[in-house]
Amino acid sequence: MTLPFRRRHNDAEATHDRARALSSRGLVGDLDADEAAWLERHLDACTECRVEQDAFAADRELLRSLREQPIEPPRDLWARTSTALDQAAARRRLVTPRGGGAPGWRGRIGVSTWRGFSVGAAIGAVALLVIVVSGLIPANLPIVNPTSGAVAQRSPGPTPIDVTAQVPVLRSGADGSLEFVFTDIGGVCPHSRPECVPPPVEHKVDVGLLGANPSTVTLSPGSNQLAFEGAGGAASEGKIYVVPVPTTGAESPPPVIPSAETSSPGTPPPDSPLPTPSGAIEIATGVTVVGEVAYSPDGQWLAFSAAPGDGSTGPDLYLYAAGSLAATRVTDDHQTYFSAWLGGQVLASRVIPNVEPAAPGNPRESSGPDTNGGSNGGSNGNGNGRPIDGTPSSFLVDPSTVARTDLTQGSVWLPVVDPTGRFVAYWSGGLRSTDGGVTWLLANGQLVLDGWTPPAPLPGASGGAVSPEPATGTTRVVGPSGHPSTLVQGNVADFRATFDPAGTKLAFWVAEQQTDTVGRLHLAVIDAATGSPESREPLAGVPSLRRFSIDANRLAWVSPPGQDGQESSLRVLGWSGDEFGEITTEPAPEVFIVR
């Protein structure tokens, strides 16, 4: 064997090389005492080596200065990675025989190219076969079980967790149009036994959506009416509709019959449109929904906040009584945001801008927010682009009388109270606007869980929490009890929180940017004794779209679409006692939870 020629250093070069190597190692503390002593002696005698060592040290400081310039990863990195992990897991499930066997991906990471080639060739051959076969099957056509309409069953495994639940969704079908689907779940699988139950059974319902591109679709509690907002450049954009939902299997939906006798918070405008042939009613026009849309628990009312479509002001609170012709705007301060229903009352929040000191001769700058619905458009005299801070306050509204009860505690934003009336989740802190008060962002504060003090009935009052607006002079205590537990540490720009019906679990979604459509969904278990979240989190921040749904024994959410054309899936975490399990439906380009 012939070795390549290599120049041999003379002794002096070797000594300097050693000094250079030790100088380098010494910078990272990798010298023993003898080496350090030798190096010091050498440097005392070798100016050139000393200069080189100093240069190494200076370059090292320069390199370490890069620590002062942190590089932030993209906000969707976890969503992308999580989706990729899901796909890797799914692929593994496809190639691993049921019932165990050798675990996949054994062996070291660095498999040689040669070995990889033979495996790769085999995979390639299988892939080619799959492509040839799949080319004979129409694209995006799920294998349908003729009796249920669901995707064909996988073989059931042992010990699923029994969870009976239904999740209504709007989903893009094979032809790209939206389908309204009730997804019936019979059980979920423990995490150690994925796919132990058949996939959910689906029932499709034909709903006339006027050809609109709907958004903010919300289903009533009785599943007999949908509310939605036209969007996406359709003719219906800027309009809000309600449309009847037929009973499963019905040929055509019966139209909603407007009733003049139905109690309503206001008189509908005289030019309110009549129901369309499909039964849809245009209940508001020229507006954009801001935040949540929700039916009251008895389905008799729909509440939402909406702002003018031209973005000239912030939102007001609207109420729609089932069976009436139009929604009615019940606030005019352009700063009111619907939060949630609490029994038969609406919880809403409004912002009090912290207006800067008045400039001489400019009375508008000395005023508070325009509560008369006038022309200031929520700008509060500060439409100069400078950020303005705002303090939130929240209140209850009786939809029948529009009487308002202010919460006792200030700085409570978008509170959500559990249906049993024991706990409340809310943003505790301030808000900030950079557009003169039209839109508001979360500022300093935190998302918290607190006890809830319900309003005590007034002496002589029947049924309760009614007081004149504004609630000045009110002495009744209502609102958070003032012992909050932090739910999320760190950056929160947007959130949504909902309790389960028993008030034992709280699902909350948080996003780091207000424009993010993908955030992280958590499920916290509430310790009934302390009113604080338990340390265990059955769901700890999974990537999710904003709209999720929680019921007595399940939490449903939609996994975000990933990169490279990956699609969304409806995912359901179900529970029975202390057992939790999950099920995922087949992916589709678009999936929206509607209740």
Partner: protein
């Protein structure tokens, strides 16, 4: 001890790794590849590989170095495949017709003389410098992450310091030449304006 591969265990473990280390892995890959989007893709790949190869990690306390080893290999594989970055000094030109604000910010961040000098040196040397000096890997961790012996890792690091020193000198010389050129241009304009 070789651990068995359990899907849930692997998922939980990798989610924990991601929560703790995704920022530094991404930053390492950005500085190796000088491309934020590509670095994000490869960060994702690295965590998927960690998930798939969870059973090859012998001790949890080595997880960070193990993760860097995966990220390092992912980066070198990509560099070899794409033949990018190496010896191509940064010119400040964007890759697409309409670069995003994030890309512009990232490119600005990577356009300083030190980053340009790092881009000039061989990728294994660049990796050794970044891992040892920015990411604080010990000598043994550096060797493990780079997949070489401890002695070889020390040698690579020493050569990397020498290479960086020369590359910085070249960058400083280029900057001086550019300044001289600007001064000369201003002087010409000043004379022409009289």
């Amino acid at each position: 001890m070789i651990r068995s591969w359990d899907q849930d265990e692997a998922r939980v473990f990798v989610e924990g790794l991601f929560a703790k280390h995704h920022g530094e892995i991404y930053a390492y890959l950005v500085r190796m590849l000088r491309d934020g989007e590509l670095a994000a893709d490869l960060t994702q790949d690295a965590f998927v590989k960690a998930y798939k190869n969870y059973d090859t990690l012998e001790k949890d306390e080595n997880a960070r170095a193990w993760l860097y080893q995966i990220a390092h290999r992912v980066a070198l594989d990509d560099i070899r495949r794409r033949k990018i970055v190496r010896m191509v000094p940064w010119t400040g030109e964007s890759h697409g017709a309409a670069p995003s604000a994030e890309r512009i910010a990232m490119e600005l961040r990577l356009s300083g003389p030190l980053e340009r000098a790092l881009a000039r040196i061989p990728e294994r040397q660049r990796a050794a410098l970044l891992l040892a000096e920015l990411h604080d890997l010990s000598g043994l961790e550096l060797a493990a992450a780079m997949g070489v012996s401890h002695v070889a890792a020390r040698a690579i690091l020493t050569r990397a310091r020498e290479s960086l020193r020369k590359a910085l000198a070249v960058e400083k010389e280029s900057e001086r030449a550019a300044e001289d050129e600007r001064d000369a241009m201003f002087a010409r304009e000043a004379r022409g304006g009289r």
